[in-house]
Amino acid sequence: MSTSKFNIGRARTVCRTDLRQLTQAKDFWVPMAVMGMIFYVVLPFLLLGSLSALGNAAGGSASKVGQVLQILPQATREAIPDKLPSGKTVTDSARAAYALAVYLFASLAVVVPITVGNAVAASAIVGERERGTGEFLAHSPAHESEIYAGKLVASFLPGYLSTLVGFGCYALLVNVIVGPQVGGWFFPTRTWWVLMLWVIPAFIALTLSVVVRVSGRVSSTTAAHQISGLVSIPAVVVSYGLSSQGLAKGIGTTVLAGAFLWVCAAVSLAQGMRRLRRWRLLGVAIDA
């Protein structure tokens, strides 16, 4: 492996070219856009809309929903508004909708970017090899670390951008459906901002740094997708747990969780940059 300095311009070039190819691949981004729409708009709309409808229904269903709130931690329950500015009491179904919007949909923030990012990252290196373009990159002056970093950012951006756009849609939806019942627009909360701008990008970076490394080591894109699936399932579970805990326990915990994830991501990224071997871009099995 050569020892030249990291050239950020070349890493940016690799990233930009990958993104340009991605924009040309409708067969990739149309299903991903549909998935984002389902997670950020359709599912929340159905659930929150149903809960709001319950608020206008006869007492039986509404009181059952109210009982559900009792399973939430004390601190969380106290954070849910119970009085409107006018002094009227917030209904149980409105409080349940609030809890659902703020605390239970945290997984939405994770599933979509991880899925989109993984889909790109899994074929980042092995895809170049399968298309034969890895030969061009292998013979180019670009350092392995520049290629790795460029590929990682090219996987990160679509996932994270889709999350930000989806998050915007979700916030609008939540405020429009639930806001009037709890005294006005309330979303995103401060903890959600930290989650979206600090924790989620760290989590995406950590997961993708592993998946891009996997992509450099497997023999086919199919195998890369299989293994990235294995990586992303526990990742989603862990991140959901972290996000939920963070939302329930407050900003301090969320910031700390994010910092821990960033440290892990940095270590994994550094290892990935160091360990990618140029010959893996070629269609050869050096240690066959």
Binding site: M1, S2, T3, S4, G9, R10, T13, V14, T17, R20, Q21, Q24, A25, R131, G132, T133, G134, E135, F136, A138, H139, S140, P141, A142, H143, R278, W279, L281, L282, V284, A285, I286, D287, A288
Partner: protein
């Protein structure tokens, strides 16, 4: 044993060698892909690695740029080791792979701009249009490469390879899959690049491509070098005697061919319907006497023409030797006495 394609044949100083491989080997697991390859390529020359598929040509190219590390041996390109100073080497190399290695979802211009940026050029200032025009693909630059023909892809790959004005061009089967017309055009372009002072290393399994193009030829087989050197030098080594083809009205009888003056070998071939004999003579000065003697013995000679071995003859002659033994050209200046013989040689003069 090692074979060196030395630049001594052209009188070039070794310090001017752009590329030096010394006993380079590469294995994939237990399978050797390249064994003990030594090579020295002078600046401004065209060297052709000649051999069938699987001979190790592509592996050699990959090792030269540092894309693949050698298992053993040393590599110096422009005085640098590609394994430790790869950027310095690769930034001065232009490579055309056996497959064009183009991004099919991008346009031709996008592909060239990508390459320009990776090689440190400003994509807006890079001579993209000039390179595309040189290879005749400028009108298609805005189109997606996925819609290009094979010939256009090869031309685009060539344009991409020269865009950064490299000092060393490495071309791996550049005419693979092309129609004859496009192949000729590509070879003309290679010739013109060499004319611009570029050093070219080209891999091919097509003997005709190397003919008339190569300053140096390395014949490879099964990952090993069979023989190498300047074509004229190799022809002289494998065909040390002058050869002449004599055509006659009727087949010559054995008694007419016996004890001819200055003849070392003759070959009537296996085709009884063709009245030609190829004579190997000790010196060209024997040819008039040979023809006169044949006429004296009753042969109706219709044509006498010199036999000039082609690279194909050379290739098969060298492969014949390779099956039996390797040649060290540094220690064995002349080929063995039977070098260049083939199964068709049927007799020797008394």
């Amino acid at each position: 044993m090692t074979l060196v394609v030395s630049d001594q044949s052209t009188g070039t100083q070794s310090s001017e060698a752009v590329l030096v491989l010394d006993s380079v080997s590469r294995s994939f697991g237990s399978r050797p892909a390249l064994t003990d390859l030594s090579l020295s390529v002078p600046r401004g020359s065209i060297s052709v690695l000649l051999g069938p598929y699987g001979a190790g040509k592509t592996t050699a190219i990959r090792i030269i740029t540092g894309a693949l590390p050698p298992t053993s041996g040393s590599v110096r390109v422009f005085g640098h080791d590609p394994a430790t100073d790869g950027e310095s080497v690769r930034s001065r190399c232009g490579v055309v792979s056996a497959k064009p290695a183009l991004y099919e979802r991008l346009s031709g211009r996008d592909n060239l701009e990508y390459s320009a940026a990776l090689y440190g050029l400003d994509p807006r200032a890079a001579p993209i249009d000039a390179a595309a025009q040189r290879f005749g693909i400028q009108p298609a630059l805005a189109d997606k490469v996925g819609g290009y023909s094979t010939g256009m892809k090869t031309r685009l790959a060539l344009a991409r390879a020269v865009l950064h004005n490299p000092d060393l061009l490495l071309l791996d089967e550049p005419t693979s899959g092309l129609d004859p017309e496009s192949s000729v055009a590509v070879l003309e372009l290679v010739r013109s690049l060499a004319g611009d002072g570029k050093t070219v290393v080209m891999c091919t399994h097509l003997l005709l491509e190397a003919e008339g193009l190569a300053d140096h030829v390395v014949v490879m087989h099964d990952g090993t070098t069979v023989v190498g050197g300047a074509p004229d030098e190799l022809v002289h080594r494998f065909f040390p005697r002058s050869e002449v083809v004599v055509e006659t009205v009727a087949q010559l009888r054995t008694e007419q061919l016996a004890a001819l003056p200055g003849v070392a070998h003759f070959d009537r071939g296996t085709d009884a319907t063709v009245a030609t004999v190829r004579f190997e003579v000790e010196s060209p000065t024997h040819i008039p006497a040979l023809v006169a003697e044949l006429v004296k013995r009753g042969a109706a000679v219709t044509a006498v023409s010199p036999f000039r071995p082609t690279l194909e003859d050379l290739y098969f002659a060298s492969r014949g030797v390779a099956r039996g033994q390797m040649i060290d050209v540094r220690t064995t200046p002349a080929a063995p006495a039977n070098a260049g013989t083939s199964g068709t040689r049927s007799g020797a003069a008394a």
